[in-house]
Subunit: 235 residues, 2 copies
């Protein structure tokens, strides 16, 4: 379980992606959202995951304003429910860098109407992930996440600024829904989210706090989603 | 793939449950919701599925007002994306009766705050399902769904009243997120939703429109969720 990476990771990824919203104060503020008192969670479908490879592109659907959100992803190695905070890190197999791509206009509309965030978060290719990092390789609360679009730095923030740290997230989530081996938790994005357009290149990575060099990097091309049945008009 | 049932179904259920809200006019009205112009979709985690068996109980978490919603579940047999309406039924392997259990107070609170519905829909045991029905056994748009609590009929409605029928749902959903073998689509609930309390027994089933007798039935006991880490207060 500790040896896989890239393509292989897909096959061991479990049945769900639990994503955490507003887990960095400055990101909550930039979208004019209140800072939550409890973790704010939502689901992304695992069908939205892509890994690097020749054919891997990010598809931007028609009329969707896609925003990048770079996040630390936690891969669950051991199943559990009602996991206590002090035992939570035993359930972590490792980490990935992930982009929680978000149709911001769809999400804003859903929020205004009290509707689920599912469509805005769930399109195919909306969860690009990096190669896998073994748990013992990093202190997950002391790395820098970064994201560039067309070579320009857009996001750069330390995971030390998470509001709810990984043990709390695991404890909270597993008190609601059991975690299974291969499940992925996206731990929220630092500030600096912004648009990703067809034709642009996005890079994201993770570096140790004492280093200029990235421990892991990934790069994806964004294209217009071809054809497709995605409907924006009523039947 | 056509022979499995009960426990076996779990192992072939795919990576997601896509649920449809407000797909029956009278149910939209009973919760004072507008009738949607496009299908309203959200995700439930597959970890919420339970099948009948000695140890299978529905757990009612502390401070959560759980409502029953009986629904026709569509099991996807063939993967696809951007599936056209006229080819959609080729992707259906069969059906289950499902309860889309919902923490109504949590959902109302989420709706008022523009937050995801995930917690209200995602607790462990919140998706009890029946044995599997092969696709050719029923006309899915002409069966009666029913649900009883402690022997009293609570819901009884024909799937002929769906606003968006199965081909449209499959086409719409697969234009956003690809469908995979074993994925489950919950097609919405007819009117009559109401509370399910610890200690109560819930039964649900499906009958052909010309028959008094159920083609399939299921029965679950509701209990108070034991202990658990489910938090309702801030850290
Ligand atoms: Mg949701
Ligand atoms: Mg995010
Ligand atoms: Mg429902």
């Amino acid at each position: 379980y500790t040896a896989y990476s890239g393509k292989k990771l897909i096959t061991v990824l479990g049945k769900k992606i639990v994503a955490v919203g507003r887990n960095y104060v400055k990101h909550a503020e930039e979208l004019k959202n209140p800072v939550p008192e409890l973790p704010l969670i939502f689901l992304k479908p695992t069908s939205s995951i892509i890994t690097e490879g020749k054919k891997s592109v990010i598809e931007i659907p028609d009329k969707v304003e896609v925003h990048h959100e770079v996040e630390l992803g936690v891969v669950i190695g051991k199943a559990g429910r009602d996991i206590s905070e002090d035992r939570a890190m035993n359930h972590v197999a490792g980490y990935v860098v992930a982009l929680d791509l978000t149709g911001r206009n769809l999400q804003s509309d859903a929020k205004a109407k009290g509707l689920p965030w599912t469509v805005s978060k769930g399109f195919d290719t909306f969860c690009p992930i990096s190669k896998y990092i073994n748990a013992e390789k990093i202190d997950p609360h002391n790395v820098t996440l970064w994201c560039k679009v067309d070579g320009q730095m857009r996001q750069q923030g330390s995971t030390s600024h998470m509001i709810f740290r990984i043990p709390r997230l695991i404890s909270y989530i597993s008190g609601i829904m059991k975690l299974e081996q291969g499940d992925l938790i996206l731990t929220g994005t630092p500030e600096g989210v912004g648009p990703l357009l067809p034709g642009q290149t996005i890079e994201a990575g993770l570096s140790l706090s004492n280093s200029e060099k990235s421990l892991i990097e990934m790069k994806y091309q964004a294209v217009q989603k071809p054809g497709g049945m995605w409907r924006t008009t009523p039947y």
